[in-house]
Amino acid sequence: MITKRNFLKAGALAAAFSLSATAVFADALADITAAGKIRVAVPQDFPPFGSVGADMKPQGYDIDMANLIGEKLGVEVELVPVTSANRIPYLQTNKVDIVISSMGKNAERDAVIDFSDAYAPFYNGVFAPADVAISGAEDLSGKVVGVTRGSIEDLELTEVAPEDATLKRYEDNNGTISAFLSGQVEAIATGNVVAAAIIERNPPKRPEMKFLVKNSPCYIGFNEGEPELMAKLNEIIAAAKADGELNAISQQWLGLDLPAEL
């Protein structure tokens, strides 16, 4: 009996080790090619980068970018919807191969994952209706500001907002936007293009840019120690910038040409 149990235990351990072994020595790019499929984390609550239409299908800048990557790699694309808060754990726990989720770069993230070159422009700001007087971080004093937990805006505002400003951190952008539109917070910190997409849908409250928090372009994220994958992704991004494909995506979703600094 005891030997049998130990045997089972040993078997389970062996299985665990063999799994870890494959994960450690794997080359993500080779795995993707072999599987004929790339799993991409995309937002579904973050127009115009990723949202759903009337048919509940994802659409947006990040989705087009994911499809572009898949096409250039010659593999099928599996879109996995994520939120700002859980996209890095998704990557770490190998639920996705890459993250294309309007993700900005910062030191904390850089410590745990790797980034490609930038593929989209993004400006974070604080937004509020016209009648709310805010012109800089110090004006947030006494105000209630909604942010999406774990986003660049959250991390930046936590640093610069005055002591008596209240940050309300929502699980995902749905929560942040709903809180703003239902009047639960006076202002939100989000991307310029996100605010523009809200205004386009004629909301009860119009979020206007009050000040810029950070110029924070979007990068593709992937696990550390994948030089082949990084080189391939950067090659695809550079080619798409050169031949105007990326500019076309930018025109379609942001209504702007790609800025020169990208």
Binding site: L19, S20, A23, V24, S84, A85, N86, I88, P89, Q92, T93, N94, E108, R109, V112, G146, R149, G150, D154, L155, K168, R169, Y170, E171, G175, S178, A179, S182, G183, Q184
Partner: protein, 225 residues
């Protein structure tokens, strides 16, 4: 996967967890006391109150018991402002917990009341007690004593259910885990720690409730002798 467990972040983030525990405690203290009060009133209305009130209460109880707490919370926080009722996230969470526990405890307490023999009412009347006195001393106290363990379990269930209030940005114990993991990317460890704390809170809360039950009903029994 060569994942190394790492709990070093506790050194930096423990105040967030402490604040989260305090918020969860406050929520269940208010939700528990007011919720049971609402439940007692509803139990009275359904078993002994006027018929029209009984019907309203029955609809309330069924609506709440047959919909998820998360949806009740979203409806109160995001939906009600459309009707001009705007609550802060903590108020909304407390209201949702009171409404939820109120509906469940109403059914539990009603079961206790209906198990009270009819003769007790008559006995109360023959002692020249008013209907309210009869209800309080002869019906409610023995009923509560009978169902106290079930009520205690329900309060613990509502406390555990309150984990979702972080979805409307209440900074409770679950928020502490979410906040920490969004900064440290130590998702599993953060949730593991908060789960262990919840287990401790649940055991402690149950213990306290049972002690409260002992002290209330022990003194009542002595006084009635």
């Amino acid at each position: 996967m060569n994942y190394q467990f790492n709990f070093e972040w506790i050194g930096t983030y423990w105040p967030v967890f402490l604040a989260g525990i305090w918020m969860t405690t406050k929520l269940i203290a208010v939700g528990g006391v007011v919720g049971i009060a609402v439940g007692t009133f509803c139990a009275w209305a359904r078993s002994l109150g006027p018929k029209w009130l009984g019907i309203i209460v029955a609809v309330y109880v069924e609506l709440i018991r047959n919909t998820p707490f998360l949806i009740q919370l979203f409806f109160i926080f995001f939906g009600l402002p459309a009707l001009g009722l705007r609550l802060t996230e903590v108020q909304a969470a407390m209201l949702a917990m009171v409404i939820n526990l109120g509906a469940y405890s109403a059914e539990i307490i009603r079961a206790g009341i209906e198990a009270t023999p009819k003769g007790q009412f008559e006995a109360g009347a023959s002692l020249a007690m008013s209907p309210i006195q009869t209800f309080r001393h002869i019906v409610l106290v023995p009923a509560l004593q009978k169902i106290w363990p079930a009520l205690a379990s329900q309060v613990v269930i509502v406390m555990l259910g309150s984990a979702v209030v972080s979805q409307i940005a209440v900074e409770d114990l679950t928020f502490a885990a979410n906040f920490t993991q969004s900064r440290t990317f130590r998702a599993f460890e953060a949730y593991f720690v908060s789960t262990a704390i919840y287990l401790g809170l649940a055991i402690l809360l149950r213990f306290i409730l049972i002690q409260i039950g002992h002290s209330i009903f022990a003194t009542k029994r002595r006084a009635s002798r």
